[in-house]
């Protein structure tokens, strides 16, 4: 008997049918993967399964009992959301066991010692190398992600674990670590519902695969018999060519960005050049300093030493206004924190960069603004109910398109895309690859692509710079290098490699 079952679930929001007659059964000790594009209804389904939303029709059945008659059943489900939501100022062990009633600490008085002793076991199981006494804010993003999953496992009653895109901020190696843990949980008899965009993960991990498209379940299969083309076709409703190369094919022009011996928070002595019309990839593990380098160049983080020139002119640091005015655009990995203005409409989110074109006599012309925005919405295929919709209600992919779209109106020379496809579905991903390519080829932009996905880097970049622990560990031509060479440079510096040899 299925441990968790969704029967004929339907859910509607104003203007959108989010789910229509969705059936799903999670068997005991099974890893069931749910895949689908952004807006396919995965998150809505999960929120119904954990009791956050009530379905408009259908019911959720947990251990054979309908959740509408017995809501206590939801306590058997542990849910790990995609975003980090830990208490940053509390310690690792406190984070693990809050709420204490659920994790078995029913006494009124708790000592730190009790918590720490209990924490060690979980830290070991989840391979988090940290002191239980450490504040969570001092942990790396990937350790926080694992801690969040460990926290879900401290729930005494849990039989079902739901993971929503758990690997978005993990590098390949850390992802492997997570998979081992998930398999251990499975052999301990837990059932796991795994939501992901990454098909490699789904096939590596899953026992069965369900595909959602436009709020409907369009397919289910055992992972052992499913094929990647079948999944992609079910997700998109059409076959897409994903093997295609997206490297710009024009000969690179002048040097637009020349960085010399730059040092800042978390990295030192980094030098590289970027030419017009090329995509330069940056590879490295989380914490290698990729984002920090870009944010320092952009002026968001303080520079410690070094210099740079942009289009031949000496660069001014620590001033994002100057950077943007001089055509240096940085699109942050943290779309929610650094990209969108959540409560503003799609229109105002895009319109914020259009003022040079839309302002007449000091005031914004609503008419001109609407025209340009409608054009951007069409050109970048942004899906929204209307441009007055608050951007927080758009899917991640559509938010990203809006951010890229508005940036193009600043007429950039250098565009830094930090994890531009994080949490974005395959079709939109592909769209963004082609967009970067065409911007490099047609607008002659110099583009820097920072990514944790090696496939993405190899597919899009002309050259790849590797970083290890805040230092440059290599530079490769994408055409002539191998995956292995880059991976090796990502996990050890030249000296260490020489020492090993």
């Amino acid at each position: 008997m299925a441990v968790l079952e969704a029967r004929e679930i339907g859910k509607e929001f104003p203007g959108v049918v989010a789910l229509r007659n969705v059936n799903l059964a999670l068997e005991p000790g099974e890893i069931h993967c749910i895949v689908g594009e952004n807006g396919a209804g995965k998150s809505t389904l999960v929120k119904i399964l954990i009791g956050f939303y009530l379905p408009d029709s259908g019911e959720v059945i947990i251990d054979g009992v309908s959740a509408s008659t017995e809501p206590k059943g939801f306590e058997k489900i542990s849910y790990v959301p995609q975003e980090l939501n830990l208490f940053q100022e509390l310690t690792v062990s406190e984070n693990l066991f809050i709420p204490f009633e659920k994790s078995g600490f029913s006494r009124t008085f708790l000592t730190k010692g009790q918590l720490h002793r209990a924490a060690h076991r979980y830290l070991k199981t989840f391979r988090i190398a940290t002191d239980p006494n450490e504040k969570v804010k001092n942990l790396s993003v990937s350790d926080q992600q694992l801690l969040q999953i460990a926290r879900a496992a401290t729930n005494r009653d849990f039989k079902i674990l739901i993971l929503d895109e758990p690997t978005t901020s993990l590098t390949g190696e850390e992802g492997t670590r997570l998979f081992e843990i998930i398999r251990e949980l499975k052999s301990a008899g837990k059932s796991i519902l795994f939501i992901s965009h990454k098909l490699e993960e789904v096939f590596a991990l899953g026992d069965s695969i369900s595909v959602l498209r436009n709020g409907e379940k369009v397919g289910e299969s055992r992972a052992s018999v499913a094929t990647i083309p079948w999944v992609i076709q079910s997700m998109c409703g059409a076959e897409l060519d994903f093997e295609e190369n997206c490297q710009p094919q024009v000969s690179p022009g002048e040097v637009v960005l020349d960085v010399q011996n730059l040092s800042g928070q978390g990295f030192s002595d980094v030098s590289f050049t970027l030419r017009e019309g090329e995509i330069l990839g940056f590879a490295g593990l989380v914490g290698a300093g990729r984002s920090e380098i870009m944010q320092t160049l952009f002026g968001f983080l303080p520079r410690i030493a070094g210099k740079a020139t942009v289009a031949g002119k000496a660069w001014v640091f620590n001033d994002t206004h100057h950077s943007v005015r001089n055509g240096f655009i940085y699109l942050s990995e943290e779309r929610k924190l650094h990209g969108i203005f959540p409560y503003l409409s799609l229109k105002h989110n895009i319109g914020i960069t259009l003022f040079p074109k839309t302002v007449r006599g000091g005031f914004i012309s609503a008419k001109i603004e609407s025209q340009i925005i409608d054009q951007i919405v069409r050109q970048y295929e942004i899906k929204a109910v209307s441009s007055d919709q608050q951007i927080m209600y758009l899917s991640g992919g559509n938010q990203q398109k809006a951010i890229v779209g508005r940036s193009m109106y600043i007429t950039p020379k250098v565009l830094v895309c930090d994890e531009p496809t994080k949490g974005i579905d395959i079709r939109t991903k592909n769209y963004i690859y082609h967009l970067m390519k065409s911007l490099a080829e047609n607008e002659r932009l110099g583009i820097i692509l920072v990514s944790s996905e090696l496939e993405e880097l190899l597919k899009c970049s002309n050259r790849i710079v590797t970083l290890y622990a805040g230092r440059q560990s290599g530079e490769f031509k994408a055409d002539t290098t191998t995956r292995e060479a880059i991976l090796r440079a990502m996990i050890a510096t030249n000296q260490e490699r020489d020492a090993e040899a």
């Binding site: 969108i340 503003l344 914020i352 000091g362 409608d374």
Partner: protein, 328 residues
């Protein structure tokens, strides 16, 4: 892109019900209706005139505070600044015999200066606006007492008394000033890039910085504007009373935050309409007026205006909950 058949709805209907302000405007009208049914004195010209005259002072301060709330900031020293600038203006006119209108203008410059100082300290050292402005409220209030030793400056020249006591187009002069300022602030926030940047900063300071918006500069300018409006309220009050009372502005701070919040401006920043601050101030003003008309002890006024704030915030939370239940 589909637009739900908006066009079939009449513009008047949309103005009434489709606007984010419509809820509290209706609430204000309802309160006015109830008040006029229960008290024969409420809708008399005299009562209306004193109600909107006193609304003007609190309204100006609330309007300034609304700018800061939209940015995600706030200033708790606006009351002290109003008092201090009133005293400086009065001192210049009475003791130094400076031209009254010039003194008035200089007092406003002082107000903007105080705002500049607040904004600068908060920005340069990246401090919490709440804590800094509580401290600065003490500083400005203290300077006020040092100058006046607690005694009012009397003998404000007749030439400028009309700014506080006079009428223009049959409306109290301070109220006309308020309407004028509302129009300016509304245009600034709604139709200019500066205003859009304000909302952007209120939504996410980091995202604004990432787009190259000059966050620090805009914040300082808004602190200056807010404190300028506060000093304007202070000087108009001096003109109305005919003396610089050191206590001017003492009770304005709570209302200046309550009014925008009632008017739908979130304390967390990034949402709301500055006109809401005036409607919110009007609701508080009318209710205070009702208390007086009904002969309730004036000591109850603070209880009531405090309660209104809590109720308004609760209603806001309930409506947001309703929206979320539908939308997400």
């Amino acid at each position: 892109m589909q637009k739900p058949d908006r066009k079939s709805i009449s513009p008047a209907f949309r103005l009434l019900f489709g606007n984010q302000l419509s809820g509290i405007v209706l609430a204000l009208l309802l309160i006015i209706l109830v008040a006029s049914l229960f008290s024969p004195y409420f809708l008399t010209p005299y009562n209306i005139s004193i109600t909107i005259r006193s609304l003007a002072f609190v309204g100006l301060v609330s309007l300034g505070q609304a700018l800061l709330l939209i940015l995600g900031d706030l200033d708790l020293s606006v009351g002290s600044i109003a008092g201090l600038c009133g005293v400086i203006g009065g001192k210049l006119m009475v003791d130094f015999h400076v031209d009254p209108f010039l003194s008035f203008a200089l007092a406003l410059v002082c107000g903007a200066g105080c705002g500049f100082l607040n904004g600068l300290i908060i920005n340069a050292l990246n401090l919490n606006a709440l804590v800094v402005t509580i401290g600065m409220a003490g500083v400005y209030g203290g300077i006020n007492l040092v100058i006046t030793t607690g005694k009012a400056i009397i003998g404000i020249p007749q030439a400028i008394r009309f700014l506080g006591t006079g009428d223009l187009f049959g409306l109290p002069f301070p109220f006309v000033v308020l309407v004028l300022m509302l129009i300016l602030v509304y245009a600034l926030t709604m139709f200019t890039p500066f205003g859009r940047y304000m909302y952007a900063i209120g939504n996410s300071r980091d995202a604004a910085k990432m787009l190259g918006i000059r966050v620090a500069r805009i914040r300082v300018i808004c602190f200056m504007l807010a404190c300028l409006l506060a000093s304007l309220a202070g000087m108009l009050m001096v003109a109305r009373l005919g003396s610089s009372q050191p206590s001017i502005g003492e009770t304005w701070v709570l209302t200046s935050i309550a009014a925008p919040v009632i008017g739908g401006i979130a304390t967390t920043g990034g949402i709301g309409n500055p006109a809401g601050a005036i409607v919110g101030a009007a609701i508080i003003g009318v209710i205070e007026n009702i208390i007086v008309l009904f002969g309730v002890s004036p000591y109850w006024q603070t209880v009531v205006s405090g309660a209104i704030v809590v109720i308004a915030v609760s209603l806001d939370a309930v409506s947001r909950w309703l929206v979320r239940r539908k939308k997400l």
